[in-house]
Subunit: 342 residues, 4 copies
């Protein structure tokens, strides 16, 4: 069986990454590509790296005939996504890559995104798309909300520690280093090569980054009490990759053990030997996440470092992993490619 797929927002990086992955998946056929602003163009003109593929032309979302389409990936901007999704056929399975359905609570959504949610009833039904922790619900869901890429990285490092009760919930600091493709194909001065390469800076400092909404929701639910971490992202001069350095209070050996146990049977999560630290170089272009634990010279403190590719495991790879589950396909299908190094 080959599932018929549509991708909305195909002219952005996560849309293009989905096409890259699906092109060697073997069980999916791309039936429609939506991209309002570039409708009418051939994909080879928008992304020449895909020119070897036989792909449908870009069309407006209205032009898509949904008959026979099994699943839709929605890689549209935040806010547009909820409007579009609420108008899609009710029988269609949907994996949303935007932020619109990540937060279950309308008030939390309004607080972090600055506007009332436009599809509150769907918001409640959406399943949070962190595959390794919501696998069964995702398999049964109609609408899955892909996580933030930073949010995914931080959760892979911290969820098992909170669940196992091995760290102090009031002293969690997450310092992230993010590659630029996470910002999407946006035309901003600070994303120009001339201004981004050769240096680094922090942004959204002090607890203002929207992915904190996801951390708060997920960590508090896990702990059964409010958990508020500190989280500061930094932009680094690379295209793919997130490195999350988590500073926690807890026994380093217990921290390492909690991660090993949590991910013992997971295909995509690699817990390194104690004391080893991961690198984004080693996960580039792949669906793998590497985790390392080190003890600090100060007793009772541990450092957990997580590395993944924001466009793959942090976004489009995760989306495909979820789609596999929703379509009854093997979860890892199309996702076993090795990282690209160097």
């Amino acid at each position: 069986m080959t599932a018929k797929i549509a991708i909305l927002g195909a002219s952005g990086y996560t849309g293009a990454e989905l096409i890259r992955l699906i092109s060697t998946h073997g069980g999916m056929e791309i039936a429609a590509l939506g991209a309002n602003s570039k409708a009418g163009l051939a994909m080879a003109d928008v992304f020449p790296f895909l020119r070897h593929l036989d792909l449908p032309q870009l069309v407006t979302i209205d032009e898509i005939d949904w008959t026979g389409i099994d699943l839709c990936f929605c890689a549209l901007p935040h806010k547009t996504s909820q409007e579009v999704i609420s108008a899609l056929p009710k029988t269609l399975k949907i994996v949303d890559l935007s932020a619109d359905f990540r937060l279950r609570d309308p008030e939390a959504y309004a607080k972090w995104y600055g506007n009332a949610h436009g599809a509150v009833e769907m918001q409640g039904q959406a399943v949070y798309g962190l595959t390794e922790f919501y696998r069964d619900q995702i398999a049964a869901a109609r609408l899955v909300a892909g996580t933030g890429c930073n949010a995914a990285t931080g959760q892979f490092a911290l969820r098992p520690l909170i669940e196992a009760g091995v760290i102090d919930l009031d002293h969690i600091i997450l310092d992230l280093k993010c590659a630029v493709s996470g910002a999407g194909r946006s035309l901003k001065e600070n994303l120009l090569h001339a201004e981004l390469s050769e240096g680094t800076n922090a942004y959204a400092v002090g607890g203002t980054h929207r992915h904190l909404g996801e951390f708060d929701q997920e960590f508090s639910a896990l702990a059964g009490r409010p958990v508020h971490i500190q989280f500061t992202p930094h932009l680094i001069p690379a295209n793919r990759g997130i490195l999350a350095t988590a500073y926690v209070h807890g026994d380093p050996a217990a921290v390492h053990q909690a991660l090993q146990q949590a991910y013992a049977t997971e295909t995509f999560i690699e817990v390194l030997p104690f004391g080893a630290t991961p690198s984004t170089h080693d996960v580039r272009g792949s669906n793998f996440c590497h985790l390392g634990v080190t003890g600090d010279r100060i007793d009772g403190r541990a450092i957990v470092v997580a590395a993944l590719d924001n466009l793959t495991k942090g976004s489009s790879g995760q989306a495909l992993q979820n789609a596999n589950l929703m379509l009854g396909l093997p979860e890892t299908q199309g996702l076993m490619m090795a990282p690209l190094f160097p």
Copy 2:
């Protein structure tokens, strides 16, 4: 059927790239990994990006049991390669990625490499590994010599033009821009990030680069007369990719047509519409080669630009493509992954 494979020189970039490609090939099993200087190590320690794979430990070449092995990729340094290969079992199929068997003429070899060849009789038997042009001979060969990555790029641009007789053989200039992985994992000051990034320079200027031996051999054979091109490579601050800009005297439309005809049925060679120019960004990590033709404002002159990934189509991808042919497998097996962008 699964072919059993050995890789010699597994601790270098082309060796690692072979493992990356074979890991999702589906018809090959890696039975042995040789790497004398790092023998005894696990591959995950040498290249952590491969740690998700279940690979044999690195061993010395002497330790390898060749029983049952169908094909050996030899990714050793130049000169070492000929010594090792001449001592391998005579029944083993071999794809050599070094320069040792590219030149058929012992004198040409001695001239470009500065020493007498150590396995002259094998040198004569080796088939030149530019798949698209030596397909049948490769399928029947015991020993295939992978081409130089620059040599491959230039030939994809120029061979059909020489064959079709549409350019002046005395005025061919090839200006190459090469990413750094072509230099291998060598510890040299000019390959350090601090000295290579953020700038560019020419090297081997004036006709001294060894890949000229391949151009001379191949172009002269094609033309039936000596052909000597001008060729200057430049090092650019990128890890993968070669962009070759060829300046030729000839009718641009005829040049474009010659390329289109030559590659009409080729899976991996994409000839862009007339006037479009390729980018190394669009072939990164893939086995594709993009070719573009533009006419100059000066009548009767054309510019051909070729782009490929030096580690994939220029080296390990080419090697796998050849191995597929030698083993009776579909030529494109394991090589259809899309480029990585951005």
Copy 3:
């Protein structure tokens, strides 16, 4: 004496580079900074790297009081420049960094820029700003037209060869590798870090780049007959630097000698020993231009490689060098900083 200076277009890269250079010049005071789109902002907000300086606020051009200002650098976009400059006080000395006054012939201007010139009488009076070749005229000029950065690089390599009659005028090929800051602070997808880094491509292939207008004008005037070179620029993933590789027909020793003689007394032009090749790494952030000559293996052909920093020697450094001459200051004042390496 301290000269009072105004800079129009201070929110772009060449404007900011002028401020960088003037900040340690010692003989200039910045009296006004014009930048219509960002008028009202402090320079520290537009370019935080200049925050240690005590600079005037950005204003609209109309707001500038020209009383007492000795010289104006005009770093505005093409076409805007001619409109603004024709309305400036007639007593003001002007160094224009745009393309508007580079071509002396209105028809040539219209051909390359696609519109009739709006200040034809000033066009005829402007002196072409390639300091080393127009020194006396620049010192006496009211309006100096800064050259194109690619045009400067190519001319440093080729003018002495044409003048000395040591090369064939019908076989000149110039292959340029340009860093991205030459494109200015423009918001375009192909200038984003995610799309520009890690690769390279040709652009304006086939003789369509506007700097060809300058090459045609200057080389034809030098030769006393029409000279049309082939010129193809390539974008490389670096912020500063142009490397020009010129392929010429001529005796390599004569070519080298012609360059050595032409630049024997020049402070900023370094001719390397025969056979050495320059690198953009070695001129970054400086006003120096390095030139190297190598003979090809084909008799009678030489390769000249030129390297300079497009923002400094190719643009703002050149502008300051010219302003020094126009103001009767030592030509090298404020320009002797060493390159930044690594």
Copy 4:
């Protein structure tokens, strides 16, 4: 008056950076350049970017005639430095850029560097070279020990906070992002462009980095009690720049005020407005350090971000600033160049 200067270790990055700075200093003359491994070479061959300068040839240290030399910069590797310095003429002023004299306590030195100090009596006399905090002692010193570049960055962010008593001394976390030139011109696989670019990783995780010896010494002395911070450096794909993100417990406004007061009259330390965050892009190639303070969403926690250029303010610029003081020259002489952007 022109001071006569020698530089030992002139073939490394900090040595070359000293020459870059001194070339436009105006009050120093380079009389001797020592570099044992490259003795006999011209500086233009070792670092072509300095070829416009008239510099003495590289010699072995033994060959240097110390007569008339006022001050020696010692940019040699750790451990070599103490041997060489203890044998230099006793009248010579010395600025050491190695780690050898940073730690005053022989036991602390032995603990962090793994060997007994070879010049214990000089170790006690050396003045710690963090100019803004040891100005008077430096002016009077014979031997000044340049600080670690990471150690300088962290101290600029934290010293005033410890001195003012506005932060909790038991909860200081310093997460650094370091460019690669800090590792020097070392030939290691992980410093190759192919392995370092396009990604990031932590190193010396868990309190093992040697610069912790400096933090411990300085912060404990300031506080009058032992202070042990957590410190994790990360390698980012850039050549120059350190960004330090400090997570502290304390009132953000008080933290900002403490920094503003401490640096109110300092030329090179810029405290940004509250809530603004610095970027390494904005200090590149300069002697400036930018500091920013933001409050976290969690009450009572602040984030301080510091940015400087490791080779300039973090090393050779600091050394020159100290040398100016030791020679009775204006402290800022030769150090007022603006950063290089973009």
